[in-house]
Symmetry: C2
Subunit: 443 residues, 2 copies
């Protein structure tokens, strides 16, 4: 098994880079059977995984008592037969996804016998830093191998025993199907993160899967590209001609259904024209779901302040991800003001407008610079599974590719293939220069 216990991490990273070259030379069928074999191994060793998980849980329960671990960490650590079934199904689903490597997105003849292609290709070495949840390990490992990438998996020490057994299953699958063992590397130590962050040239992409603090720390301390989001500050804007009943249903779903999710809304923006009719209704619906309201002056004047769960918003409310049953509310005079608020205070994750007017939506869509810009749909749909991407690697709030929910497609990049017959550039220069044809051809 490839872990820090046996080899210094720098040697492991060099071996990972070497393995990534070998891996990129393999055909899709071989990678596909590795994933199938991963699922089988986890299936066969389910009891062993559950036993290891029980040991981790026992230890975590002690830490919980001492206040060194949170209840939610403990919940996410917990595996049972049902969850293991979900893990196995998830891995098999990844095996069933179309091969993301080798697809052609541009094919062009530059001149007679000189052809250019843009071909999807693996990124190389991907490091994933995750906390608590052991189910992340087989999920990411299967996505990485499916896309011909080496994955360095840094789990939390609270899940060490579970991760070690799960990782053993994955290693067996690599061995059985002839993939290099360093295609997957498991690390446990907090100190290993520092080494990973400095490993530019060896690690090509870092994906943090954990708390906002973890993501922000990683973003601030590495030159390696980071795929992830520190904040999920989503908005719903209710336009003047919105269907009030629909808007209420959407606000309640987007706030209440799972408030800790990054795609839940934190701020409700309401057009002044509709505020008098809409705000009392939505406030009532939210209060019945135990949601605290933080109101700007104008919405405060409309909503009865007699309720204890209502108070004035402060400036910090517009930039706070509550991750809880709390929502801030602001009345705006126009769509322009709503867009400015969202672009200024939002985290470019997912924002929604409720309106009956298609042109209004189009202008909202064009001007809001977020990964998801929705029309009459809950922001909670922003998720790789719901988008039909299969398993999700993470959600990116960066402006560049990959953006939004990232599935298997986000784990490939591209290379340009140029096929010639001895073509040289000097023939295309000077007074008797040959001309390029630049003719698109069949892919």
């Amino acid at each position: 098994m490839t872990t820090t216990q046996e080899q210094p991490i720098n040697e492991l990273l060099l071996a990972a880079k070497k393995a990534s070259t070998m891996l990129s030379g393999l055909h899709a069928e071989q990678r596909h059977s590795t994933i199938e074999s991963m699922a089988t191994m986890i299936e066969q060793r389910t009891d062993e995984i559950l036993n290891a998980n029980r040991e981790d849980l026992d230890r975590a329960a002690q830490l919980l008592e001492k206040g060194e671990l949170s209840k939610s960490m403990l919940d996410r650590l917990n595996l049972d037969n049902f969850k293991i079934r979900g893990i196995i199904d998830g891995v098999r689903q990844v095996a069933g996804l179309p091969d993301p490597v080798g697809s052609i997105s541009l094919a062009r003849e530059l001149d007679d016998g000189l052809k250019l292609y843009r071909v999807s290709s693996p990124i190389g070495v991907i490091a994933v830093v995750f906390e608590s949840r052991p189910d992340v390990l087989p999920q990411i490992a299967s996505l990485a191998i499916r896309s011909s990438n080496v994955a360095i998996l840094k789990g939390g020490k609270e899940a060490r025993r579970t991760n070690t057994v799960l990782f053993g299953c994955l290693q067996e699958a690599l061995g059985e199907t002839g993939l290099p063992p360093q295609s997957l590397i498991l690390l446990h130590g907090r100190e290993d993160i520092e080494t990973l962050l400095k490993a530019d040239g060896l690690v090509d992409l870092i994906i943090p899967r954990g708390s906002n603090d973890l993501v922000r720390y990683i973003q601030d301390n590495t030159r390696i590209p980071v795929l992830g989001h520190a904040d999920g500050l989503c908005h719903m804007y209710v336009h003047e001609d919105a269907d009030i009943e629909m808007a209420t249903r959407l606000v309640v779903d987007a706030k209440v259904q799972y408030p800790a999710a990054c795609n839940s809304i934190e701020t409700l923006l309401v057009d002044a024209t509709i505020a008098g009719a809409f705000l009392p209704l939505v406030a009532d619906a939210l209060c019945r779901k135990n949601v605290d309201l933080r109101l700007d002056q104008r919405s405060f004047e409309i909503i009865s302040p007699s309720q204890s769960s209502v108070r004035h918003a402060e400036i910090a409310d517009w930039t706070t991800e509550y991750s809880d049953l709390v929502i801030s509310v602001k009345v705006v005079d126009s769509i322009v003001q709503a867009i400015d608020h969202i672009n200024q205070f939002g985290s470019h994750h997912t924002d929604c407008i409720v309106t009956a007017d298609a042109d209004v939506y189009e202008s909202f869509f064009r001007s809001v610079n977020s990964a998801g810009v929705y029309w009459n749909a809950s922001t909670r749909f922003a998720d790789g599974y719901r988008y039909g991407f299969g398993a999700e690697v993470g959600i990116s709030t960066g402006k560049l590719h990959p953006r939004g929910p990232v599935g298997l497609e986000g784990l490939v990049t591209y290379k340009y293939k140029l096929v010639g017959k001895g073509h040289v550039v000097s023939d295309y220069l000077g007074p008797s220069a040959k001309r390029f044809s630049h003719r698109d051809i069949d892919m």
Copy 2:
């Protein structure tokens, strides 16, 4: 005119962000006529531009005498009627390119009445740091506006007068076609770079166009994504069944035709089987073009060391971008050794194999992790113009998108559009959950 002389840079950056929201709301036709108008303005004010350029050149000549400016800087600063014609044609070409904003790359029904689209969209605010060459200014400005992005243009002080007049032409075009003046911002001061590098949240992408040192400095000192390459360390590998005459022609073109270009080769790798026949030939051809050879022990034994331009390679030679008439040569025992050398020492720019065997090329293509992986063609083809991308923003050697020569397409990102009819996530959860259809639909 929007320059530092009139407003502090922080205010300018905030205004730029605001302008980017306005710009993203505009239709393609309006942006198109702005670009046409830019070309007309430059045409009309050609004499004024040339006069300003002459003043810059006079001052630069004085700096050259004092040794404070290089000859190549002076050459790149120089404009004449012919070059201005080229600038105008370039801007008109950008106007003629298809609109990069609003194209759909994914369309999927998630359920009845719930449709997901992935739509190409502007990035936001792009900062370009360039040196000396004033022709970069209208080129980048036109590409940015064409793709609905705000451009902050930081030119060199040596080109201050020329850039100011050129920028005046662009500002006139913005004004005439109703675009916000802060859609383009010109900066001159070296100290402004520091402010730009710290402006994450306001600047979304930085494109350095200049020396390797400039690029590396910018990459090392910002959290903002950087599009560019510090090194161009390209290889040509001559496989055992290569056509020796073709290989010689390719090596000479890729090394000699323009040695200062980033897509010129620095290292020649030769299969041991063919080295005895090929090396004397290629060495002779290179020496006739005044190329110095840095040879590993095995190639040294084959090539006559009597020639003065030949010496032993040192370890540093494998990582040196000569940008000059110098090439390092190494004999390898196999394609695997060649691939390992390229992946270890290369800069992931462009690498080529010369071989008659298609399967050998395929395995080289899969395993070499570079933006361009070529077969029997000079690495010098790695260029946006030659690829048919129109004007080039730069070449990226990063592993992620955009990669390789970057044209207009590299200045857009995407957003997800989700169009519903009041759809909420809670309907898709629990025992009576609705199911997603995930059916691809017409774009």
